[in-house]
């Protein structure tokens, strides 16, 4: 449901790869500072949905309310140059994004990501967690209203995941709308304000994590079990 505070709205998105339908009329909306988790089995269409929202791919049908320039995108695999330092990566993309003051923007991102003391290190030498923070920082360079994160915590250890979510929650607290796809179901339960469940390219649920648990009609299940039960009940 779109409201006056809606930052991102997508309606009836359809994407076909030849004969295969990857997205079947998926809609979503998210308000300012809202955290939206997109979950579903493998091949459900999560990455396709995010890449369409990011403007990487064009939908065959449907519309999106926000121009891609106002959306920050953080791909699943870090999109960074390993031979460049943290600062050089940030500076390059800040210049390509034509930010008004690239140097100040980079300074801000180094502060935000807590990577000031690693700014001179080549990205190829960083840990997975730090690399992902740089990856997210690049997505934030143009001060986007919406940040799309595709499997942001993949490959991170629990401590790194914790620090990453602290960072994301801080962004949302500052008003950035965050849409993230994840396989890590507890992350959806723990951090999401809104949950979108995709299965076979179709949106099968849109609501809060508690509403998903209630929708299964069972009790005593943890959230991951409730999610699996929900899909089973709907034949997925």
């Amino acid at each position: 449901m779109e409201t006056l505070t809606t930052t991102l709205a997508a309606r009836d998105l359809v994407k076909r790869y030849g004969e295969r339908l990857a997205l079947r009329g998926v809609s979503l909306s998210a308000g300012r500072g809202e955290l939206v988790a997109v979950i579903g089995p493998n091949g459900a269409g999560k990455t396709t949905l995010l890449s369409i929202l990011a403007g990487i791919q064009r939908p065959d049908e449907g519309m999106i309310s926000v121009e891609p320039e106002r959306i920050g995108w953080v791909p699943q695999q870090a999109s960074l140059y390993g031979k460049l330092t943290v600062e050089e990566n940030l500076m390059l993309f800040a210049r390509l994004e034509r930010t008004p003051d690239p140097k100040a923007t980079v300074e801000r991102m180094l502060e935000l990501t807590d990577l000031r003391n690693r700014s001179g290190d080549q990205v190829g030498t960083l840990s997975g967690g730090n690399r992902q923070r740089v990856n997210i920082a690049i997505g934030l360079l143009a001060r986007p209203e919406v940040l799309l994160l595709d499997e942001p915590s993949t490959g991170l250890d629990p401590r790194q995941r914790e620090r990453l979510w602290e960072f994301i929650l801080r962004l949302a607290g500052e008003g950035t709308t965050v849409v993230y796809a994840t396989h890590h179901i507890p992350e959806a339960d723990r951090y999401a304000d809104q949950l979108i469940v995709l299965a076979d390219g179709e949106r099968v649920f849109d609501g809060s994590p508690r509403e998903l648990e209630q929708a299964t009609g069972t009790t005593g299940l943890d959230f991951e079990q409730a999610f699996v039960e929900y899909l089973r009940q709907r034949g997925h």
Binding site: A54, L80, L96
Partner: protein, 446 residues
């Protein structure tokens, strides 16, 4: 695009081993190819025994002396001569493999030549240890003997001509240290004409003398044609060479153009294909083309970077070669034009390889595997293969940039002509491979 270019230069600067390999490897290959093309095999070792004594090595032909020892220099110009002191020593050295062949000049060579009744005979012994060198020795000796034969034939024909002139005009003939006066047909005719005038008209002797005078006149007239006839005998076939296709570049100069083309191809292909594929491998491509850089802009940046770097390296290589090889520095601007044209065409091909492979290692491997066959195909001479196959080779060479680059560099470096045509050809290839790359880039992010 400027920032992307600076980024790529910074990455290259931080990959010194890769850059060093990229520069040194093609230059080494180019120099090796250049040497292989411009240098024949080493002079083969050949044992040599001359049975001619110092006095017997000079023969007299028609009163002129010919020193056979002087002719040995020409005979052995392309051979590393190992002198021995007997025929048996020649055979032993050949058998032992110390030499590839042996030549024996028999004792009777001079007398046979001087008699002009029998040919002089050289004896040649071969070692078949190395078939390639054996063929080279055989060809070299055969060619040199033919050259010596031709020279002797001309000399003998000249002697015959001198003798015929002596018969016609009369004069002094030197033989075995003695001088003989030869009357000659001209003076004989004159004497006979004077004698006939003293005889009474209508006498039988006068008529007979008239027939003799007519004969001498006829003989003199026909002898006047003998110089043309004997010249033809001395050199029955003359060569009149005219180039119908291609330039007049020497093998050494062509080797320089070839070395530059090979280096240009390796460096540009590897750089263009590798740098483009690295954008995919670093996963940066989707982020870049999300409004930061256009697809065409990205291709242009990679092509420009590869072309500028390879042109600079090859220009430095040519300047370095210029210290050892005689290059026309006044044509320097044309070198740059030809190098830049070739580099852009190779860069476009490199982009097509990069978009196809989408992986740095695969791109480098494909670029490497494509390079050598392209160079070899462009060097296949006409007549070396069947005409239909040669047409196929020409067609394949025409759709890749190596051959036109070689033509352009040959024209620019050696004034071999056809620079404009080669540059147009390269421009067409830039457009074709550029368009292919742009199309293939659609599936690059997949």
């Amino acid at each position: 695009m400027r920032w992307l270019l600076l980024k790529d230069l910074r990455i290259l600067r931080r990959s010194p081993l890769m850059v060093a390999l990229l520069v040194i490897y093609p230059i080494v290959i180019a120099v090796l190819i250049g040497f292989a093309l411009s240098r024949g095999p080493d002079k083969p070792k050949v044992a040599f025994y001359s049975g001619l004594s110092v006095s017997a090595s000079t023969i007299e032909l028609g009163g002129h002396n010919l020193n056979l020892a002087d002719e040995e220099g020409a005979l052995f110009r392309d051979i590393d001569v190992v002198p021995v002191d007997s025929r048996a020593a020649v055979i032993e050295k050949v058998r032992d493999g110390e030499v590839l062949a042996g030549i024996v000049i028999p004792e009777d060579l001079a007398s046979n030549l001087q008699s002009t009744l029998e040919s002089g005979k050289l004896q040649v012994f071969y070692n078949t240890e190395d078939p390639a060198k054996q063929a080279y020795v055989e060809n070299t000796i055969e060619a040199q003997v033919k050259a010596a034969n031709a020279a002797l034939t001309t000399r003998i024909a000249q002697e015959a001509l001198d003798l015929l002139n002596l018969i016609g005009d009369g004069g002094v003939y030197h033989f075995l240290g003695q001088d003989f006066n030869v009357l000659g047909l001209k003076r004989a005719e004159s004497i006979l004409t004077d004698t006939r005038a003293t005889l009474p008209a209508g006498s039988e002797k006068r008529e007979q003398l008239g027939e003799v005078i007519d004969f001498t006149e006829l003989a003199r007239d026909n002898l006047s044609f003998s110089d043309e006839v004997l010249n033809v005998v001395g050199e029955p076939i003359k060569v009149s060479a005219r180039s119908l296709d291609g330039g007049r570049t020497s093998l050494d100069d062509f080797a320089v153009a070839l070395a530059a083309s090979v280096s240009l191809m390796f460096i540009t292909l590897q750089l263009a294909a590798g740098m483009l594929a690295s954008e995919k491998e670093e996963n940066a491509f989707p982020r870049l083309v999300r409004g930061l850089v256009s697809h065409t802009g990205l291709l242009a940046e990679k092509a420009g970077l590869a072309a500028v770097c390879s042109t600079a390296v090859c220009l430095l290589m040519l300047i370095g070669l210029g210290l050892f090889v005689d290059l026309e520095w006044s044509r320097f601007a044309l070198w740059v034009v030809a190098l830049a044209g070739g580099a852009l065409a190779f860069a476009a091909l490199g982009l097509a390889i990069g978009t196809l492979t989408r992986e740095v290692r695969a791109a480098s491997l494909l670029a490497f595997m494509l390079s050598l066959p392209l160079a070899f195909l462009a060097l296949v001479p006409s007549g070396a293969v069947a005409p239909a196959l040669y047409d196929v080779i020409r067609a394949v060479s025409a759709v890749f940039p190596f051959k036109p680059t070689l033509d352009a560099l040959d024209a620019a470096l050696n004034d071999a002509g056809g620079l404009g045509g080669a540059m147009l050809h390269l421009a067409a290839l830039v457009l074709v491979f550029g368009a292919l790359s742009r199309l293939a880039l659609r599936r690059f992010a997949a």
